[in-house]
Symmetry: C2
Subunit: 356 residues, 2 copies
Amino acid sequence: MKTIKAQDYSIFFEDGKYEFLTNFLKKKDYSSLFILVDSHTKNKCLPIFLSKISEEFDFKIITIPAGEAFKNLQTCQDVWQELTKLKADRNSLLINIGGGMVTDLGGFVASTFKRGIRFINISTSLLGMVDASVGGKTGVDFYELKNQIGLFANPEMVLIDVNYLKTLPQRELISGMAEVIKYGISYDNNLWRVIASSTEVSNLKNMAELIHRSIEIKNEIVTKDPKEKNLRKILNFGHTIGHAIETYFLQDSKKNTLTHGEAIAIGLICETYLSYKLFQFPKKEMQRIKDYILAVFGRVNFNSNDFDSFLELMKHDKKNVNGNIRFVLLEQIAKYKINCKVAISDIVEALNFYLS
Amino acid sequence: MKTIKAQDYSIFFEDGKYEFLTNFLKKKDYSSLFILVDSHTKNKCLPIFLSKISEEFDFKIITIPAGEAFKNLQTCQDVWQELTKLKADRNSLLINIGGGMVTDLGGFVASTFKRGIRFINISTSLLGMVDASVGGKTGVDFYELKNQIGLFANPEMVLIDVNYLKTLPQRELISGMAEVIKYGISYDNNLWRVIASSTEVSNLKNMAELIHRSIEIKNEIVTKDPKEKNLRKILNFGHTIGHAIETYFLQDSKKNTLTHGEAIAIGLICETYLSYKLFQFPKKEMQRIKDYILAVFGRVNFNSNDFDSFLELMKHDKKNVNGNIRFVLLEQIAKYKINCKVAISDIVEALNFYLS
């Protein structure tokens, strides 16, 4: 599949990508090479990576604990300390091998170490491939606020190898589908039709194509609007409500944590409802989206007692300005409106629609 | 005095600068305005600032402890938390009022909060004015390594008002002179002649001119080389040895801490000696530099037992690549050579020259 040219780097899909990387590393002559993995990708992905890349390189491996709960400044400090101890300098390179948590955190750590060293991202999760591999967002959570501390910084290159997806638990694979669905509904009717043709996610033979098309879409959007002034806001479809629910479940120790995709899936249904309510998004299509998402993700258990907490968290969304909660909504598939004001009562209705 | 145009912002000196800032704040329509001060500048500089700016603005004040010891990630976390609590959003502005510690830390905090909010720097120390007000370096110390965590980010504007210098203790004012001297010796013989004409630093009537010329020089250098590939390295003259000594005194609780300038002053003498030893820098001029600096700064107390620690710290300098300690040295006043390799024995000789 074709390489995608992003802002000032490339996202490689082709068979020859590891040879390309090998040559790139030789040519660039970095002073030292570091690999950042989490405890999962260290066992499951790092051996694959090392088997495909020339043995001549002396990689120093830094491992962090897996999971969103460790996407924080403490983990950053551990990695900065490790880099310092291992004498990383400004010409060192950090290769992040993992899902979005590893590439977001690793990108932030690299861009702020000695005022910035270079980094490469090897996305190993579906979510990481379709969401984190383009757009330059790096960062970590802070006091339960997602990605509150971070900056925009691009990697030297990104490698996409769908073989890593085989290492994922089914639940993680499905999680990534939420973003693929989002690209379809909000931006590309064709993509949505392909997705909707089967609810057997892990059987999708065309996963590589879905990923490639998703990245193409995201790249198109962020290239036109790198700093999220306008167009890029459509990437937020499903996320205003979804993020709040994700944070809520993360904070409440009595509840099972949701994956990012499971939370966004709820947001997609609710925000499609808001689109229907406020902008006449077709009712039949709305029902189809809800049915599809519930078939893939199941229904998450919460009730109206939780709504106030959701609403409070929405007010803290990074995208808010002057304390107003703003939504991206749809008039129909792939026809979006940004900066939509929505009444609290409509948000409540949308949450009830999900539960109904 | 003339406004200096930096990369994508301006450094204002003129009398009308506060009116300009007032109009700027009105025009830009930030969602909220924050001021970052330390415990000193809160008492001594903030009242001056507020007396000169329109009363119509609702500034929220965030205070951090004063001193290099607090230029760390913990202080950043306190400020990030305060910004979160006070509901800062992406359209908020942070005005940093203080010396280099406040503007370096405040710039870093702003550039990484919600992936970057805008900031303005009001430099209140001589060092801050001539060093931190241009070049886009932001950051904090990490495990005793100076500015180990940070990034390049430019403020919206910088205001220079020499009236703030009257609030400084004499020792802090003198500290800033080390950088002014550096600009003279390494880049501008005229400037050096003006400086050398008097050792009565606080009586210098032409302080405003010295500051303006110093910023002009730094701006010229960083505009040509923003990411420190070549030319910008000359700003490091005196700093390879100076930084190591500064860190050493900071780490040793039995020793009095040195100001940045006191440490750099030592570095300037030692690295001038290395210039003489390796590149025939004129001996007479070297002696004049040493005499001048010792007259202004006095001699700091250390001995050959400390040398090994100095050398160990030099190896950790951010500017090093492949573990080699690299110096900027001079063939004569304002004629520099970058990336000079220096033998350990010569560094020891240079330290002894300072002590002799």
